[in-house]
Symmetry: C2
Subunit: 557 residues, 2 copies
């Protein structure tokens, strides 16, 4: 059965009213704003109340560098939550929201797979509770207000060539990557070049995910730089005097969404910034709510541990005020063999040598995460093609690197398939953690970048393009240098070359540009080409989708 | 107090759970999909069940041509519903959904005013239940799929210069009226000129509003023409094989939304196509639900009776399979004096002569609506500046034109202020109606247009631009000539010149172009310049909006 078929069968048979799921973590119907019977938002007063709750332990799920073989990070995260519940632990899951663009293109949704899914998967993968649409509207309303400012006399002296705020759609639309807008004469705007991004790549998504509450959201929105004047002074949303309007458009999007796994584990799904151009973690508000509601909160970070993992530790942790108590790194035998040079078509054949070679990638990520002073568990997401010998090799290699490794078979068996992982994670949570951040934000920008490149990526030199040097000057001039670093790098390699698998060393990282994100509170370091508006493939998934006269969806995956 | 203050005070004190409101028209909680405590969608099975219910009577609320003085059509519609309930009638209201773009610009929302409002007004005027966002996403996903078709080899031989499908945003953004997209080289699309509309101007909105159910929605979507091949053959959504995906994105948007007035009258708010470029009425599905749930269903049409009113009769009525049993025309003394030549600043002064002159506009609309064989009531929406003499004159003028006229003071007094109107409407509903459509759809396109222009507008000649003649040839060649006509004309005048107030005669109407809308099932006749993407004003309403740390909105109006 496909993921959607498993989900639909279970939704019909077993999905509980969300008020019942909420009750298992002490939430009453008054704490919820229902969206249908199976989805709800936590109300603002409830979120406020939860801020004073004692906090549970935090588990961060991350992974090796993604490969075409698939790792199943969300699936393991969900299965781990279900398994902990089976062991009698009060576990709560906190995930990112899917983006609709990739769903219509080629990627599956972000709701896990098999018997480790969150439901209702169709709703979550489509419009859900409208957060993504509210963000799109807020981003594009701000853009319209900026162009209208030019139209109505440009009192702020904004340079049309230096507007950095981009419109977005939650759609994979390559035709909007580079546009000329404002054509058609004096009543239809100022002609200028511009770009559209996918919604999750917008700074506003990162802002929403790092905000503590509505007041903090407003403070962050006001600080967003939308462009520069003709004399190169930054212009902010606050300068435009539209902070209130933009925050107003997000008044519901700021509230985390509660759904359930197929096993009824309470799951907060909220926020989903890119893990390259942004920090790739779900919202601080939802993570805090999960920590308040659960004795164990399980969350994931985007892409591999070099991107989402590092950023969780160095960008999200300081804002959250809470570091992970244990880290789970998801790997598969298949993906490690791919890292060891095996072609996609040959991954089902046993190949212990390639596994040993490809393990270098996982080994680097284990060392990187352990470096933060937090216990690390490796979850080997099981595939039927894995052989006993390969699994045994992999476990030994992990142990030798200082991490417990356990198989997880949650796709096929749900929480039952994750009991060993749950036990290993519980043991890790009982170990002492001595969290140490990677760098001091007060260090120079170049020092912070060098630290990430050498200590996390295993690289050597950092090469700065002229544009990046100019950006460093702007950053210094405006006093923005003490912000943490958000590396925008390919997710497929520890280097900035997606073809370099395994654990390359000695490579140079090329910094093209550095983009200050004052609202989010980080500096985005652009390396290589980072695509912020995906395209659709030759055969988009949309061609196979349908909805019946009774509203039943098919072909979503 | 402002509208939002009245709404917020009453929401806090008196708004009922929507399940309670639903119960007053026989709907159980199982019939609803809740969106918070005060909003709900009717489920698909419930809508199916309601199709077999006996239908109540239908009241259509329309108005004179809009003026800057304001007429208050929605306010009167809501007040009439409340008043009928006070008289013990089972009234249900069916309104259009507001567009967010104008809300951020200068227009008030579409939720009525004073003590005749639907609530929660902030939610309804902002993201509501996400219908508008789902439409935006569906329209733009279709656009991305079209450009991707070009990108991936253009198997359908689509002419990039003749793509007629436009992207949309629910935002007033003049900078997107004329754009060049697809720049940036071979991997970023095919460069071409294009335009963005506001969401409510898209054919897909009209399609959603005219569809009977999901199956009909799909059939209509498949028929939408998105462009032409190099050899001028129409290309449809069905040809692109993405009908299922686009319909899937609207699976929730197709369900009508239930809210309440301040007096708890059940109100369905669903769909909101432009009344110039489209037919300007709420959805057929919601109107049918209102007819099934209420003994009297009250609905409104956009702009004046020449646009929304005519289109209700000739486009919506045949699809609905039910004609209005009575028509209410909303007018104000102020607006009629404006039609009589008085300037906006002088409207508070008594001016019986100007009223008598300006009455020509209302008189034409009364005659037009009576022409359909349906009883007509004039609602005089009261303003404090109206004098006894003016009101008495106006009533006499209406009586002489064959329509009962009654004052309605619902803004200040809610349903209590609409009792006389309710009684007049009830009397009208007891009169026999003998509905006669204006034209036979099988007539030639030019004949149908001439009928509307001469019999409704009071005009003479119809002048066709070369482009319109070419369009007529395309329409004839493809067998589309038997579709009803959807006039795209300025709302401010019975003519195509917004400055011609009152009841002009003998004028010519200039047809620039005729756009076939095969999914909606009408031919849009473009006269003059019809703006399908509004702009923001010098001081956008957004500048005065805010949300407090507790989520309370201010400055929405």
């Amino acid at each position: 059965m496909s993921d959607i078929e498993i989900a639909q069968q279970n939704e019909a048979e077993e999905m509980q009213p969300i008020v019942k799921v909420a009750a298992t973590v002490g939430l009453s119907e008054d704490d919820l704003e229902l969206y249908g019977k199976a989805k709800a938002k936590l109300s603002l007063p409830t979120l406020k109340r939860l801020q004073n709750h004692p906090q549970g332990k935090l588990v961060l799920v991350t992974s090796i560098n993604p490969t075409p073989a698939g790792e199943g990070k969300s699936t393991v995260t969900i299965g781990l939550g279900d398994a902990l519940r089976l062991r009698g632990q009060n576990a709560v899951i906190a995930l990112r929201e899917p983006s609709l663009g990739p769903v219509m293109g080629m990627k599956g949704g972000a709701t896990g797979g098999g018997y480790a899914q969150v439901v209702p998967m169709e709703d979550i993968n489509l419009h859900f509770t409208g957060d993504m649409h509210a963000l799109t509207t807020a981003v594009d309303t701000l853009a319209a207000l900026i162009d209208n400012h030019l139209q109505q006399g440009n009192a702020l002296n904004l340079d049309p060539r230096r507007i950095t705020w981009r419109r977005v759609l939650d759609i994979n639309d390559r035709s909007l990557r580079h546009v000329v807008l404002g054509l058609g004469g004096a009543t239809s705007g100022t002609p200028r070049e511009s770009e559209f991004d996918i919604t999750v790549a917008s700074e506003l998504m990162a802002v929403l995910c790092l905000a503590s509450d509505l007041a903090d959201l407003k403070a962050r929105i006001a600080k967003i730089v939308i462009g520069y004047t003709y004399d190169r002074q930054p212009v902010t949303v606050g300068d435009l005097q539209v902070t209130g309007a933009i925050a107003m458009l997000l008044k519901d999007a700021i509230k985390p969404n509660l759904v359930q796994t197929l096993a009824h584990t309470p799951t907060l799904i909220h926020g989903g910034p890119f893990a390259n151009i942004a920090h790739g973690c779900n919202s601080v508000i939802a993570t805090r709510a999960a920590l308040a509601l659960g004795d164990i909160a399980i969350t994931e970070a985007g892409f591999g541990a070099d991107l989402g993992g590092e950023k969780f530790m160095d960008i999200k942790t300081p804002v959250l005020g809470k570091h992970p108590d244990a880290v789970v790194i998801v790997a598969t035998v298949r993906a490690l063999k791919y890292n060891g040079g095996v072609k996609l078509a040959d991954l089902t054949a046993e190949n212990r040598a390639a596994l040993a070679t490809g393990f270098a990638n996982l080994k680097r990520h284990i060392a990187n995460m352990k470096r933060y002073g937090v216990p690390v568990v490796v979850a080997i997401n099981a595939f039927t093609s894995d052989t006993e010998a390969e699994l045994s090799d992999l476990k030994q290699l992990c142990e030798a690197s200082g991490a417990t490794a356990v198989e997880a078979d949650v796709w096929a068996r749900g929480g039952e398939g994750g009991l060993a992982l749950a036990d290993a994670v519980t043991a890790a949570l009982n170990q002492p953690a001595d969290f140490t951040p990677l760098y001091d934000p007060a260090a120079s920008v170049k020092d912070k970048i060098a630290t990430i490149v050498t200590q996390i990526y295993g690289g050597g030199e950092v090469v700065y393009d002229h544009k990046a040097d100019l950006a460093l000057r702007t950053i210094a001039k405006n006093g923005w240098a003490n912000l943490p670093i958000c590396m925008a790098k390919t997710q497929y390699s520890l280097s900035d070359d997606p073809k370099k698998l395994g654990a390359p060393t000695g490579f140079a990282i090329h910094v093209r540009d550095i983009v200050p994100r004052l609202g989010a509170g980080f500096l985005v370091v652009m390396t290589g080409d980072v695509l912020t508006m995906p395209g659709l493939p030759k055969h988009p998934a949309a061609l196979d989708m349908d909805v019946s006269a009774d509203g039943v969806i098919s072909g979503l995956f």
